[in-house]
């Protein structure tokens, strides 16, 4: 076995962990270990999300780095990683069927414009011009032409593959039990199976499980878990390349490069799900509810066959945006969790910024608002 110490240990082989490993290696730090609890890399939300690369609708604390990723990273990512991550930048329509929807969309758009994002509310006619396949019930939508989508599974695995090639060490089936400090500094990562890893810097990017892991050194992040489902259709003739969402958030999705449509869907009963974090069971109701919602917006898909449904846990943060920060009270610790279901599109920027934090550099955009201690009374 290779050595079990490293400059940097990343807990969590999801898209953020893999991206961080890659950007570290790219900047010359290859003494990096990534620990993934599952046997498969990217087995959590990274492989289960809808693939949105979206700036519109973002919280103002996130929007700057979401825009940074779209402007500076996504367009060249496939070339950079040597794997086609199926990135399409053809815009995002967030659909509305009622006046209340449109008002909500207006609010989102005006805030985003303040930070320099091109996002407007358009009328039914313009919606039809952008995407002729939508239902006549759609009366308007927000439109952000620089949004898009990519293949989350490929993106995660592409970062993984490239990081591997650059010498990063990955361990799978390596579930972390606890962290330990040595002489006042975070140092050890102890696995359920007993192995001990040691690192100068330890990044916790393990989704909801980050909460359990951080707690072992007395840091609690206000996360809760939320189960969401998705579905995919058989291959369809090419229809559109834009990303779709709704003001009601009852579904979102896109047509993948392959031709299949990928949609997130819910039953409305998600809050009541009582299931262990290790379980990934879909509910008997969600897929049908999802299909009704989708057909309400894209009637033409009525005969498309659903081939697969799946679900995944989202690490919801108390205030809807992630914690991406150094933990000053535990030197050597960096937290990157609580992505609240929209962490995929920002992963390149987050990976880059985490690598910059490790190296003591200034991050490409200011993310001090995402500090772990924002929930504490003493600042």
């Amino acid at each position: 076995m290779s050595k079990m110490t490293a400059d940097v240990i990343i807990i969590g082989g999801g898209v953020n962990g893999c991206a961080t490993a890659y950007y570290l290696a790219k900047q010359g730090i290859t003494d990096v270990i990534v620990l993934e609890a599952n046997k498969s890399v990217g087995h959590g939300g990274s492989s289960r999300n809808g693939g949105g690369v979206r700036q519109s609708g973002r919280d103002m604390r996130e929007l700057p780095y979401a825009m940074y990723a779209v402007n500076n990273m996504w367009p060249t990512l496939s070339e950079e990683l040597g794997v086609d991550v199926e990135y399409y930048q053809r815009g995002n329509l967030r659909l509305g069927k009622t006046d209340a929807h449109i008002a909500k969309l207006e609010g989102m758009a005006s805030k985003s414009r303040e930070l320099g994002l091109n996002m407007n509310v358009v009328d039914a006619k313009t919606v039809k011009e952008i995407c002729p396949y939508l239902s006549d019930e759609v009366i308007g939508a927000s439109w952000c032409p620089t949004d898009g989508h990519a293949n989350p599974m490929l993106t995660t695995l592409a970062y993984y593959k490239r990081a591997l090639e650059m010498g990063v060490r990955f361990f799978t089936d390596a579930k972390v039990k606890k962290l330990e400090k040595v002489k006042g500094k975070l140092r050890k990562v102890i696995l359920e199976s007993g192995e001990v890893f040691e690192g100068e810097t330890i990044i916790v990017a393990a989704g909801y499980e980050s909460r359990y892991i951080a707690r072992t050194v007395g840091v609690d992040v206000p996360l809760f878990k939320y189960f969401e489902e998705a579905l995919v259709t058989e291959m369809q003739p090419h229809m559109f390349d834009i990303m779709l969402g709704t003001a009601d958030a009852d579904f979102y999705g896109h047509q993948a490069q392959h031709g299949s449509f990928v949609f997130g869907s819910d039953s409305g009963l998600e809050d009541g799900i009582d299931m262990d974090i290790d379980e990934l069971k879909t509910s008997s109701l969600t897929v049908s509810a999802g299909c009704r919602a989708i057909m309400g917006y894209i009637p033409l898909l009525a005969n498309a066959k659903i081939v697969r449904t799946w679900g995944g846990w989202i690490d919801m943060c108390h205030d809807g945006v992630p914690v991406i920060s150094k933990v000053d009270e535990v030197p050597g610790m960096i937290l990157a969790c609580g992505f609240t279901g929209h962490g995929f599109g920002t992963a390149p920027a987050v990976g880059l910024m985490l690598s910059q934090m490790v190296m003591g550099k200034e991050t490409v955009v200011d993310i001090s608002a995402l500090s772990y201690d924002r929930f504490k009374s003493v600042r």
Binding site: E279, K281, T282, S283, S284, S288
Partner: protein, 524 residues
């Protein structure tokens, strides 16, 4: 209101129906869903006679067993819903079923998964060419839809499926040009192999397909011999002109519903199956599995497993007390264990059994070429000589099957209490030549031989299941066990009877010195 049943059975094949029947007999109200238009699973494709003993419905053809099962199900009030595809098994033992143009939700206090298996595939150059089909597909075409799969067929796979389907292909009028298997020895029952070998089908063991040719459809196939590392040996290629390549390389359990439900699963050489106890109880209380989905076996075993699960479920839901359950399970367990005995018992899978239970050497010719060599046959206790007409039983492997001992009205044939023993022909009992034994043998391994009928001739009576049926007086060629010509022959009698159940008894006249060699009649 959501409909709830005592028992939801997924799959109306032999296991599922048997479980539902057993449960219904104990007072449960079961509902059975099947995605097909007809119930019975694979039973209605099985036109051959089954092995086993009476309690296993031996010597009855598969489709007749299917009819019996359906009758029993309807008599016991089992509700069978066809064209009903179960698409999900969720928490709370809830199933979603596609029926017509909608999805219905049902809940069960228990759920039995009896979804069977699907065919395995192998890859070779050209395996996706139209005309490369599964053996099961060939059976479906022939035996359910009466469509000939092709004219010239090469069969890959020498397990029972490959052997049985090869025979059925010939019955449908196809020419089987070769039977090929990568293994060094035939996987299925020797009697199944022998009945196609004597029709002249060559066996190529330690061979596999190199390539199938044809742009739009199969027009040829090349095979080659394999070395011990399963690599092709150069220069051993043989090419056959065929329009169909049939693949019979095993089955995989269709256990996806069990996996979706979260049942503990295990990966075995026979496929991905649920971890379950003897009566099919999985790791989730109330969810059961029976038949091929729990491990590939024969339909006969699936029916018993189904009954065991049905009884266990009746107990689980309080319809059957523990004592009655144990008594019933013991009875079924015995029937099941007798089926799992002999040379093909699960523990012998893949092993070379070199001697029979009687201590006789296994015929390597049978295992490698598909037939017992002429100089080996007399070692077996069913092969005797006599003056008048007498049975010659070419049953040389210990398999769980005994209808022949009950078939003889004179008690001439004995197997004894051990169902896998080789049949013995008693020398002191007079054979009347009725042929009941010939028709009763599911392996078509019994012949009536009369050495001397005068003028240097004798007769051989053989089971015959091809059309057109030869006529008395027709002249032709007698083929040996190896399918090669042995001598001229003339049909002197053809007997058909309800009691023979579509096995015709063809008696041919051959020269006296050939009566122990001639085993098939080929019209000229």
């Amino acid at each position: 209101m959501i409909k709830r049943y005592d028992l939801i059975v997924v799959g109306a094949g032999p296991a599922g129906l048997s479980a539902a029947i057993e449960a219904a007999k104990n007072g449960l109200k079961p509902i059975v869903f099947d995605e097909n238009a007809k119930p019975g699973g694979q039973l209605f494709k099985q036109i051959h006679k089954f092995f086993g003993s009476k309690e296993h419905k031996a010597k009855i053809r598969g489709f007749n067993i299917g009819d019996e099962l359906l009758r029993e199900a309807s008599e016991n009030g089992v509700e069978v819903v066809l064209n009903a595809t179960v698409i999900g098994l969720y928490d709370g033992k809830e199933v979603t079923v596609k029926i017509g143009e909608e999805i219905l939700h049902y809940k069960g206090d228990s759920v039995l998964i009896a979804t069977g298996a699907s065919e395995n595939m192998v890859t070779f150059k050209g395996w996706t060419t139209p005309g490369v089909i599964g053996a099961g597909a060939a059976q479906t075409m022939m035996n359910l839809h009466h469509i000939k799969p092709g004219n010239k067929v090469l069969m890959l796979g020498s397990g029972n499926v490959g052997l049985v389907v090869s025979y059925q292909l010939m019955q449908a009028g196809c020419e089987v040009v070769a039977l090929v298997d990568a293994a060094p020895r035939i996987g299925g029952y020797g009697v199944h192999a022998a009945k196609i070998a004597r029709c002249g089908v060559p066996f190529y063991l330690s061979h596999t397909i190199v390539e199938v040719t044809g742009a739009e459809a199969v027009n040829g196939v090349t095979i080659a011999k394999l070395d011990e590392n399963f690599k092709f040996i150069e220069g051993t290629e043989k090419t056959f002109e065929v329009d169909t390549v049939c693949v019979a390389v095993g089955l995989s359990p269709m256990s996806q519903l069990l996996k979706q439900a979260g049942c503990e699963m295990k990966d075995t050489p026979g496929g991905f199956v649920p971890v379950c106890d003897d009566s099919g109880a999985t790791s989730i209380p109330g969810i059961y599995a029976a038949g091929d989905v729990a491990g590939i076996e024969e339909a006969s075993s699936a029916m018993i497993e189904g009954r065991m699960s049905g009884a266990r479920i009746a107990n689980y839901l309080g319809y059957l007390d523990e004592d009655a359950l144990q008594a019933r399970l013991a009875e079924l367990e015995q029937a099941l264990s007798s089926l799992r005995k002999g040379m093909f018992a699960p523990e012998n899978r893949g092993k070379l059994v070199t001697k029979t239970e009687e201590g006789i050497d296994t015929s390597m010719s049978l295992l490698e070429k598909g037939y017992v060599a002429d100089d080996e046959i007399e070692k077996y206790p069913g092969v005797t000589k006599g003056s008048g007409v007498h049975p010659v039983i070419e049953c040389t492997q210990n398999i769980p099957c005994n209808p022949c001992q009950d078939a003889c009205p004179k008690g001439c044939i004995s197997i004894g209490s051990n169902i896998t023993s080789l049949p013995v022909v008693k020398g002191d009992v007079a054979c009347i030549g009725c042929g009941m034994c010939v028709a009763s043998c599911s392996g078509q391994a019994i012949f009536l031989v009369e050495d001397d009928i005068g003028d240097g001739y004798g007769t051989v009576t053989l089971p015959y299941e091809f059309l057109p049926l030869p006529e008395v007086g027709q002249k032709g060629i007698a083929l040996g066990r190896d399918g090669k010509e042995v001598c001229k022959a003339e049909v002197i009698n053809v007997r058909s009877s309800t009691a023979f159940d579509h096995t015709h008894l063809l008696t041919m006249k051959v020269s006296t010195d050939m009566v122990m060699k001639a085993r098939f009649f080929k019209a000229e």
